[in-house]
């Protein structure tokens, strides 16, 4: 099975729309949404819940008031302002590092698991779908992303592809999404900010040694910048393998929870199919070259 992660750098470039479209096009696949703090794919890929679990992704210090003296040694070592004047833990600030527990002479501090989100696996009409939701304001989104990916092998049924919808940015959530992937597809838009963000996220794939390909969405919004993106990517070893036109009808389709394919936007559908064919070709070529 080959794992493909869709990233973007900039938000709103069309990752989820593309992955949702591919979920209809690609026959043998398993799907995952790794944008755990603002997941969208489940809105457009409905299914029946197969698994739902609480996810405990962080630790928090717990002070036993019966054992606490207080001597304030814990407060003096806490670097996260997580201990109040009257020696109580501020959960929102606690990093779960355990420094306080190490210095407590009364052994009054323990680290407990904290629920940070919920992970789900659904059976959909287009395959198994793993996703999650981070609890509001919680940390540890990277760990929850790892959980989303870890839920896949349990339901694996010989599928050829894992299509992973990533999140915007270049931080721990994106890093956790691309780790272990066979390839990344950076979906970008031809705007100044889109280009700037694309360069940074491609730098991230290079840093982690993940082969990356580029798909330019809304390419005719600004063909000059689209061309700049294309030449810069090709020069730096990031093949541009897809171009999808700017189509306001896509937004109207999404408002009815339809992908471009279901909405009968044939030109866009064709461009998505061409992108997928190119990607398959590239990944097969890589294998042959190495062999």
């Amino acid at each position: 099975m080959k794992q493909i992660v869709f990233i973007s750098g900039k938000g709103g470039t069309g990752k989820s729309t593309l992955v949702a479209s591919l979920s209809l096009l690609v026959e043998s696949k398993i799907i995952a949404d790794c944008d755990v703090d603002a997941p969208n794919l489940h809105l457009i890929i409905p299914g029946e819940r197969r698994k739902a679990e609480h996810y405990y992704g962080a630790k928090q210090a717990l002070i036993d008031p019966n054992l606490c003296v207080p001597c304030e040694r814990c407060k003096s070592v806490c670097r996260f302002d997580a201990i109040t004047e009257d020696i109580r833990i501020i959960p929102a600030n606690c990093e779960g590092c355990g420094a306080c527990a190490l210095v407590c002479p009364q052994n009054a501090i323990s680290l407990v698991d904290v629920k940070t989100g919920e992970a789900y696996v659904d059976n959909t009409n287009r395959g198994t779908f793993s996703h999650a939701l981070l609890d509001i304001g919680e940390e540890g989104s990277g760990k929850l992303v790892t959980k989303v990916k870890e839920n896949l092998p349990e339901f694996y049924n010989g599928e050829a592809w894992a299509l992973i919808d990533g999140s915007p940015g270049i931080g721990c959530t994106v890093i956790a999404s691309i780790t272990g992937a066979d390839a990344a597809v950076a979906v970008c838009e031809p705007t100044k900010s889109g280009k700037s963000d694309l360069i940074r996220v491609l730098g991230l794939t290079r840093h982690f040694g993940i082969p990356a390909y580029v798909c330019i969405n809304k390419y005719d919004l600004n063909t000059a910048i689209a061309c700049e993106i294309e030449s810069e990517c090709e020069e730096n070893g990031f093949p541009v393998i897809g171009k999808i036109k700017f189509e306001p009808a896509i937004v109207r389709a999404l408002q009815s929870l339809k992908t471009p394919l279901e909405a009968g936007l044939t030109e866009v559908a064709c461009q998505i199919e061409n992108f997928w064919e190119e990607l398959k070709k590239c990944l097969t070529k890589t294998e042959e070259e190495i062999c």
Binding site: T146, P153, G180, D182, A183, G209, T286, E287, I290, C291
Partner: protein, 121 residues
Amino acid sequence: MVIAISAAGSDMESRMDQRFGRAACFAIIDTETMKYEFLDNAAAAASGGAGISAAQTVADKNVKAVITGNVGPNAGKVLSAAGIEVYYGKDVTVKENAELFKKGSLEKITSSAPRHYGLRG
């Protein structure tokens, strides 16, 4: 020689787990006596550092070789510092991989560069 094999389950008939850092368990096997024990991989739940923690776990057991599907650069660094050699396991059971290792049929991973994508499917 004591070796570690990443395992998808906790018996010798379990398949080898292709992942190292997030393997479900590790089989620690003495190839001379074929005595073995299985360790749960506590690192599996970590996001960053799973490979490091897993490498630390097997290093603490004084293994001389690890058999697995792939090893990331961080885990590779720890294993290399510990003098542990890493071999590409086959997509068969833990027991079969141990036998293949004893016969010298497994290929050594010689660099900690990212593995060649697609080669192992």
